[in-house]
C-alpha cells in the first residue's frame, strides 16, 4: 500500500482501535471508545456535506433519530431483525434526505441552516408527539442486536462494552474508508469544487444540484447508521437523539476537529465525547470550561485541530 494520506489515516485508525484497549484501566473505557466511534461516524457525514460540499445542516440529528427509532420500532412492530432495521433506517433516511434535500439545497448558507433546522425539529417533534408509536419523550426500549451472542457461540466471548467498542470501531473504519475514497474521487472533488464556486462548477459540467443532493443523502445515511448504533448499544433511546442540541453537537465536533478532514471528524468527536468525562472534576464549572475550551480551540486552531496541526507540521517541513 502506498503511503497516501488516505492509507495513513486508515492505518492509524485501525492501529488506534486495535491497540487502545491495552491501556484501558477499566471496562468503562470501552463505552467511551464506542461512543467516540459512533459520534465520529455521524461527524464523517458532516465532513462530506459541510466540509466538502459547503452545505450547512442543523438538522442531521433528525436522521440519527430515524436510524435510532428504526431499531426501536421495526423489530417490535414488524418483526424485523435489528440488523436489518439499521439498513431500513438508513434507507428511510436516504429517501427522506432525497425528498427534503431537493427543495432545501437550493438555499444558501444560513437559509439552508434554518431550513434543515426546521426539518430536524419536525422529525424530533414527530418522535416526541406520536406517543402511540414512539412512546413519547420518555423514550423506548430497543431490542438486543444479538450478534454478541452469536460471537460467543463461535467462541469469542466479549463483554458488552468490548463488543460495542469493536463493533462500532469496525463500522467507523468502514465509514472512514468510504469517505476517504469519495474525497479523492471525481464526486469528492466536484463537491469541494462547488463549495469554491458554483458557477464555475457548473461550467465544467458538474450537476451541482445533483451533487449536493448526493452529499446530503450520503451524510444522512452516516447519521442514521450512527443513530442506530447508539440505540442498539444503549438498548434504550429517547427523542433527544434527534434534538437540535445533538445536531449542533455534530457540527461542533466537525468544526472543532477540522471540518474538511475525516481525521478531524474523528478527532473532534473524540474531544467532545471525552471532554464531559474529563470535566467532571470541575463539577459545576463544567459548562464554563467546556465553553472556554471550544472558544480557545477555535481561536488558536481556527481551521480545526487536525488541519491546523498538519499545516504547522508541513510548514516546518519546507
Amino acid at each position: 500500500m502506498r503511503l497516501t494520506p488516505k492509507s495513513v489515516t486508515l492505518l492509524a485508525l485501525v492501529v488506534l482501535i486495535a491497540l487502545s484497549p491495552i491501556f484501558f484501566p477499566s471496562g468503562f473505557y470501552y463505552r467511551i471508545g464506542a461512543l467516540i466511534f459512533v459520534n465520529a461516524l455521524a461527524v464523517t457525514g458532516i465532513v462530506i456535506l459541510t466540509g466538502w460540499a459547503g452545505q450547512i445542516s442543523l438538522g442531521h440529528a433528525g436522521f440519527a433519530g430515524i436510524g435510532a427509532y428504526a431499531c426501536a420500532l421495526a423489530p417490535v412492530h414488524w418483526g424485523i431483525h435489528p440488523a436489518l432495521a439499521v439498513v431500513l433506517g438508513a434507507a428511510i433516511s436516504a429517501v427522506l434526505a432525497w425528498l427534503v434535500g431537493r427543495p432545501i439545497l437550493r438555499l444558501k448558507g444560513y437559509y439552508l441552516a434554518v431550513a434543515s433546522l426546521g426539518m430536524g425539529i419536525l422529525i424530533s417533534m414527530v418522535l416526541n408527539n406520536e406517543r402511540e408509536l414512539t412512546r413519547g419523550p420518555d423514550g423506548i426500549d430497543v431490542a438486543e442486536l444479538g450478534l454478541r451472542g452469536v460471537l460467543k457461540d463461535a467462541g469469542l466471548d466479549l463483554s458488552n462494552g468490548q463488543f460495542w467498542y469493536f463493533f462500532c470501531g469496525i463500522v467507523l473504519i468502514l465509514g472512514a474508508w468510504l469517505a476517504l475514497n469519495l474525497r479523492d474521487s471525481a464526486t469528492g472533488r466536484a463537491l469541494r469544487a462547488l463549495h469554491g464556486s458554483e458557477v464555475a462548477a457548473k461550467t465544467v459540467g458538474m450537476d451541482v444540484a445533483r451533487l449536493k443532493l448526493q452529499a446530503f443523502v450520503i451524510s444522512a445515511v452516516y447519521a442514521s447508521v450512527a443513530g442506530s448504533l447508539l440505540a442498539l448499544q444503549n438498548k434504550f433511546i429517547t427523542p433527544d437523539v434527534a434534538g437540535f442540541m445533538h445536531s449542533v453537537e455534530m457540527v461542533t465536533m466537525a468544526v472543532l476537529g477540522g471540518v474538511g478532514s475525516v481525521a478531524g471528524a474523528i478527532f473532534g468527536a473524540a474531544v467532545l465525547t471525552l471532554l464531559p468525562q474529563v470535566l467532571t472534576v470541575f463539577a459545576e464549572y463544567e459548562q464554563l470550561v467546556l465553553g472556554a475550551v471550544m472558544v480557545l480551540v477555535m481561536i488558536f486552531l481556527r481551521e480545526g485541530v487536525v488541519p491546523s496541526i498538519l499545516r504547522k507540521i508541513r510548514g516546518r517541513g519546507e
Binding site: R311, G315, R316, E318
Partner: protein, 233 residues
Amino acid sequence: MLLVEGLRARYGRIEVLHGIDLAVNSGEIVTVIGANGAGKTTLLRCLSGVHPLAGGSVTFRGEPMSGVPAWRRVGRGLSQSPEGRQIFTNLTVEENLRLGAYLYADDRVEKDMADAFQMFPILKEKRNLAAGGLSGGQQQMLAMARALMGRPSCLLLDEPSMGLAPIIVAQIFDVVKGLKALDVTVLLVEQNAYGALKIADRGYVMETGRITMDGPAEALIADPRIREAYLGI
C-alpha cells in the same frame, strides 16, 4: 514621502518579498512593473497595512508605519486602490463613493463626488445601482473614484487600467498624470507597462520578490531588456 527599506513579506512560511528598497518622493509618479507573481500586489498590501511585514520598515512622511493599522493610514493620507477592485458589492454606487470619503463630513464630499461623476459619467447613471451589478470595467472605475474620494496625499494604485476599454485607459492615465498637479504622490503598479512608464517619473522592475532594476522612466522604456521582457516590443 514614502520610504521602504529592506521590506520582507510572507504568506504562511513562504517568503515572497525578499528585502525591497524603494523610495517615492513627494509629488512623484513612480511605477512598478513585473511579471505575474512577482510580488507587486503584495508590496502594495504591505504599504497600505493590510498585510503584515516580516521584516524591514515602511516610513511615510517621516513617520514609521509599523503598528499603524490600515484604516489609520488612510486618515494620514495613504490610500490604496486594491487589486480585484474590492468594491462594496451590496451597497449602491453612491454609497461606495460616500464611504470613500468616510473620514470627512464636509461640503467637499459633494464636490468630490460631482468631480468623480464628471470623470466617469457612467457612475452617475448607475449611482443607485448596487455596485455588484456594475460591469467589470465600471467597477474598476468605481474603485478608482472611491480611492480619490479619500483625499489621499499618496495613492497606491494596483493595476488601475485592468479591464478598461482603450479609451478609458487613456483617460485613467490622464487622471493619474493630473494628480501630479494636485500634489498627490502616486505609486502605480501596472501591467500596461508602456502606458505606465510613459506617465511616470521613475520606475522599478520587480522579479520574484526583488527589485532588479530601477531608474528614470524614459531610461527604462529605452532599455532593451525591459523592452523585450515587459513591453513586448
